[in-house]
């Protein structure tokens, strides 16, 4: 059921068919014992000597280094370069991907903001599709960062909205409201993390060190906007559909058991490009830009339109506004 070949497991421990295999009592006991060994090995491939081919040996060594790697924010420039090189090599060995993983820092004088025009959105969900492709989202679990809610005119109530509509859009008498991570100025998801694996960057983007995350999901319980997603299984992306342009804090290959979220396409926006969702929108409902640049379109919207945000009473200060023409 999983494309991840469960790297690090000793041969024969489990090849991902444990659920389907009929197991008798004796075998189950053996499996249990093997499990202890398998677990120990999976943690970081403690047994590089048992690996057969040079590639496998290299993989195990790299996995051990990956397991013991530092918190991203504690790495020096050289350590970041080493880490990224290792991850690129691992992507090649594990998934046969030729990824380039950037570690571009936040640019000075930049604070990202987003505005969403609810009169223009027609519910085509092209942004959702673009996001999936751009961010290498898991196709198996059908992970989506963006939610488009269809609501009847005259009602702004998410509980009565339909986020799973399957019909021709736009529907008569309805409007559409998109939600994703709002990169709150006061993000409730950040302080709850017991290991500090998630934080806010100077340009306002809330990021996760996927390698440091222990998968406790406290941040998912804390987010009032349901913006975070978990890798319940090893994510699957068909190799030919992988976006090789990646960022350490963004769309690089995640592993099972870590939380992920929208990063305003950190790998694009830190290079001065638009997020994929804004670029893909056929109606021009999405306005993205630098809040610190007085000439930006987002500043124009904030200055000239009546804007609102979701759940203002929670004092999360989202950097994501809604407006209407």
């Amino acid at each position: 059921m999983s494309a991840d070949p469960a790297p690090g497991l000793p041969p024969g421990a489990d090849d991902g068919t444990l659920l389907q295999k009929p197991v008798d009592r004796r075998e189950a006991l053996g499996l249990l014992l093997a499990g202890v060994a398998a677990g120990a090995a999976a943690a970081g491939a403690c047994t590089p000597l048992t690996a057969a081919t040079p590639d496998e040996r290299e993989l195990k060594l790299l996995e051990w280094e990956e397991f013991t790697q530092k918190h991203y924010r504690r790495m020096t420039e050289e350590e970041r370069a080493e880490t990224v090189a290792r991850l690129e090599r691992l992507a090649k060995l594990r998934y046969n991907e030729d990824a380039t993983i950037a570690t571009t820092d936040a640019q000075p004088g930049v604070l990202f903001g987003y505005a969403f025009n609810i009169s223009k959105c027609k519910g085509y969900r092209r942004c959702v599709e673009a996001c999936i492709n751009e961010n290498n989202l898991d196709r198996h679990q059908d992970t989506q960062y963006i939610r488009i809610f269809e609501m009847e005119n005259g009602v702004v109530n998410l509980e009565e909205a339909d986020a799973t509509y399957q019909h021709e859009v736009p529907m008569e008498g309805h409007f559409y409201l998109g939600a994703q991570c709002f990169q709150c100025a006061n993000p409730p998801c950040v302080p709850v993390c017991p290991v500090g694996a998630t934080w806010q960057e100077p340009d306002g983007i809330v990021v996760i060190d996927y390698n440091w995350c222990v998968g406790c999901r406290a941040c998912m319980a804390a987010c009032p906007y349901w913006a975070r997603r978990f890798n319940w299984s090893a994510p699957e992306v068909p190799p030919e559909e992988v976006n090789p342009n990646q960022h350490y804090l963004g769309n690089r290959h995640r592993k099972k058991g870590c939380v992920e979220k929208c990063t305003f396409c950190i790998h694009r926006t830190r290079q001065g490009r638009l997020p994929a969702c804004a670029e893909a929108c056929p109606t021009g409902a999405r306005v993205f830009g630098n809040l610190l640049d007085p000439d930006s379109e987002i500043r124009w919207v904030l200055a000239n339109k009546t804007v609102f945000r979701l759940k203002e009473e929670l004092a999360t200060e989202p950097r994501f506004w809604y407006f209407a023409d």
Binding site: M1, L32, G39, A42, R74, N157, V192, W212, A222, W232
Partner: protein, 430 residues
């Protein structure tokens, strides 16, 4: 020398017993093995094999954790009177209570581990210095510190007392009484911190209530002593270790009061949610009445409330409470009722509907059920081992072979200098 003898004698106490004892330990082991297998499946495939999803992102594991922290904290109900207030009736029960706390904490930590997928050793990242413990910001970081600290306290105190008795020494009050005081405050704190883990999240209006902390304490002091009464009743009838009726009766009174307070808080919560319902009451509506066709939790919570109300009423009637044949079932009702209220009825509805209003129901899978069963079996196993080790030492049946005098002679000698709670040792029953 003494330590080795202590460990050997502990091993002997644990491994010897009648057929029923071996059957009990054997069944627990079997359940643990199946649970271990289920855990292995989960570790290999990820939490996809559980019923949890992006909407209901915590399930049975965290539910049980929240309940068991309460069970651990409830040891304070015996520790406080026995050690601090020198209540002689509780003196014989207090070591058992600490054993319950230890096993509950072992279960809590296992549930926290099971809730995070795959590799428990990822948790080295919580270690300060080599890892990064996000303290004091993260309530979960607090919880990890509190649970581990309480575990250490509840292992250290009984071990010191038992070991002292084993080698024929008097436990020195100077050494253990300060630890007792810490553990009393600590016990209340562990459960409050666990409540704050939920109460501190404005994203989930169902939990985001100032009442949650006190409510956690009330329910813990209901379920904890109820469990202790059941356990002490069992020990009393199945071993030579006598526990005074008065201890059980005092515990029953404490349980009754806590159960009443818990019901008052439930009522207050119901009024708060339903007198003038707002959008924030949707989770409560889902829990107690269901939302449309989504009614998974309704039978559970109604059964839970019935059990709690029924047991509380029974316990409030003095003749009934004093009759062990009624008291024991009533305590079992309370224990299960609180488990439903806190296990099923607290964590899961917090996620339904999601913060953006979507309704996804949660049903645990066989993997989750077996992992949960396995962890409970582990807890009961640990509890049995601890009780098995403690009883013979406290009965004076087991003493270090390196003592100058044979144990019978020592046990028979009156001890003027023993701590007060030992003075009240009653004559063996029968």
């Amino acid at each position: 020398m003494h330590l080795r003898a202590f460990l050997m004698s502990a091993l002997r106490s644990v491994t010897s017993g009648d057929r029923r004892y071996h059957l009990w330990m054997g069944s627990l082991t079997a359940i643990m093995l199946v649970g271990g297998y289920a855990y292995l499946v989960q570790a290999n495939h990820g939490l996809i094999v559980t019923g949890m999803n992006d909407h209901v992102s915590w399930g049975l594991y965290i539910s049980n954790m929240a309940f068991l922290v309460g069970l651990a904290a409830a040891a304070v109900i015996l520790v406080l009177p026995a050690y601090v207030l020198h209540d002689v009736d509780f003196s014989r029960a207090v070591l058992i209570a600490e054993g319950v706390a230890v096993s509950a904490l072992v279960m809590c930590l296992c549930f926290v581990m099971a809730n995070s997928p795959g590799y428990p050793w990822k948790w080295w990242r919580l270690t300060p210095v080599i890892g990064l413990l996000n303290w004091p910001d993260s309530m979960l970081a607090w919880d990890v510190i509190m649970l581990n600290g309480y575990l250490v306290l509840n292992l250290a105190i009984p071990f010191y007392i038992l070991y002292s008795h084993f080698i024929g020494h008097e436990p020195s009050k100077k050494k253990y009484v300060p630890l007792i005081y810490i553990s009393v405050v600590w016990a209340v704190s562990i459960h409050l911190v666990t409540a704050f883990l939920f109460a501190g999240l404005p994203a989930r209006p169902f939990w985001n209530s100032a009442l949650l902390g006190p409510r956690f304490l009330a329910s813990a002091f209901t379920a904890g002593p109820a469990f202790m009464i059941l356990l002490l009743g069992f020990i009393r009838s199945h071993s030579k270790y006598s526990i005074p009726d008065m201890a059980i009766q005092k515990l029953a009174t404490a349980t009754t009061v806590a159960a009443q307070v818990n019901l008052v808080m439930l009522l207050s919560e119901l009024i708060f949610e339903f007198y003038s319902p707002t959008h924030h009451s949707v989770s409560a509506r889902y829990l107690f009445f269901g939302l449309g066709e989504h009614v998974a939790l309704v039978p559970w919570i109604r059964a839970g409330i019935l059990l709690n109300v029924g047991a509380t009423v029974i316990l409030m009637i003095h003749p009934l409470r004093r009759n062990p044949r009624v008291l024991m079932p009533a305590c079992a009702m309370l224990f299960f009722g609180i488990w439903v209220e806190k296990g099923v009825g607290l964590v899961i509805p917090g996620f339904v509907p999601s913060p953006l209003g979507e309704i996804v129901e949660y049903t645990p899978t066989w993997v989750e059920l077996w992992v949960t069963a396995g962890i409970w079996a582990l807890g009961l196993f640990v509890l049995t081992v601890l009780v098995r080790v403690a009883l013979p030492i406290e009965l004076g049946e087991v003493r270090s072979p390196y003592l100058e005098q044979p144990p019978e002679a020592r046990a028979a000698r009156p001890r003027a200098t023993r701590p007060r709670y030992e003075e009240a040792r009653p004559v063996r029953r029968r």
